[in-house]
């Protein structure tokens, strides 16, 4: 039975190893880590992994969490069709 990698972002299948390596290569913010790896940019909008991305940054770069949310939220916060955004009822 093959061994599974440790996936952090389920939507984009980004692994912990990729995130740690990226955070080590580019000591960066959670936002930059997200943009570099696509972790947190999938269908769920990062609801499942955003705190994990924050933890990677804290552990690797030593940045302490602040009162400001590190990964911003952008509308729409649910994946909706253009028709729905245009006001058509689903």
């Amino acid at each position: 039975m093959e061994s599974h990698p440790l996936i952090i972002c389920r939507c984009e299948e980004v692994t912990l190893a990729e995130l740690v390596e990226t955070a080590q290569t580019y000591p960066c913010t959670a936002r930059e880590l997200k943009l570099r790896t696509r972790a947190g940019m999938g269908c769920c909008g990062g609801r499942t992994c955003r705190t994990l991305i924050d933890q990677v940054i804290q552990q690797v770069t030593g940045q302490a969490p602040s009162h400001t949310v590190s990964l911003g939220y952008q509308p729409p916060i649910r994946p909706v069709s253009f028709q729905t955004i245009g006001g058509q009822r689903a």
Partner: protein, 111 residues
């Protein structure tokens, strides 16, 4: 064998419920009124609801309350419908979706 919990020591027994035939990937399944797509399929032993659009890895429910979108399926042609939030309607056509092409990966010219 059905995995429905018809009798529960505290919550009691489920009474007679209307049966609703529906389709998943072209095969017919039976839901009971009030069951979500995810619930009815799990009761029939179906755990894989879709495959990852790029990697093809199998996925089923994860959060079951609409947050994670892992259970998204196509319902009557509409994509990205959460199986955990959607009640089965009689005759509903549910499909798992498939691996999608990724022509923009590796340089954006179909590599």
């Amino acid at each position: 064998m059905s995995q429905r919990i018809d009798h529960h020591p505290i919550l009691g027994s489920l009474g007679d419920r209307k049966q609703l035939p529906f389709y998943y990937n072209g095969s017919v399944y039976t839901a009971y009124e009030g069951e979500t797509i995810a619930g009815a399929l799990l009761a029939a032993g179906v755990r894989t609801l879709r495959v990852h659009e790029e990697k093809g890895t199998p996925r089923g429910i994860y959060c079951n309350i609409g947050h994670c979108y892992e259970c998204r399926v196509h319902v009557d042609g509409v994509p990205t419908v959460r199986a955990c939030m959607t009640l089965v309607q009689e005759g509903m056509q549910v499909n798992a979706g498939s691996i999608l092409p990724t022509p923009l990966k590796k340089g954006g010219h179909g590599a």
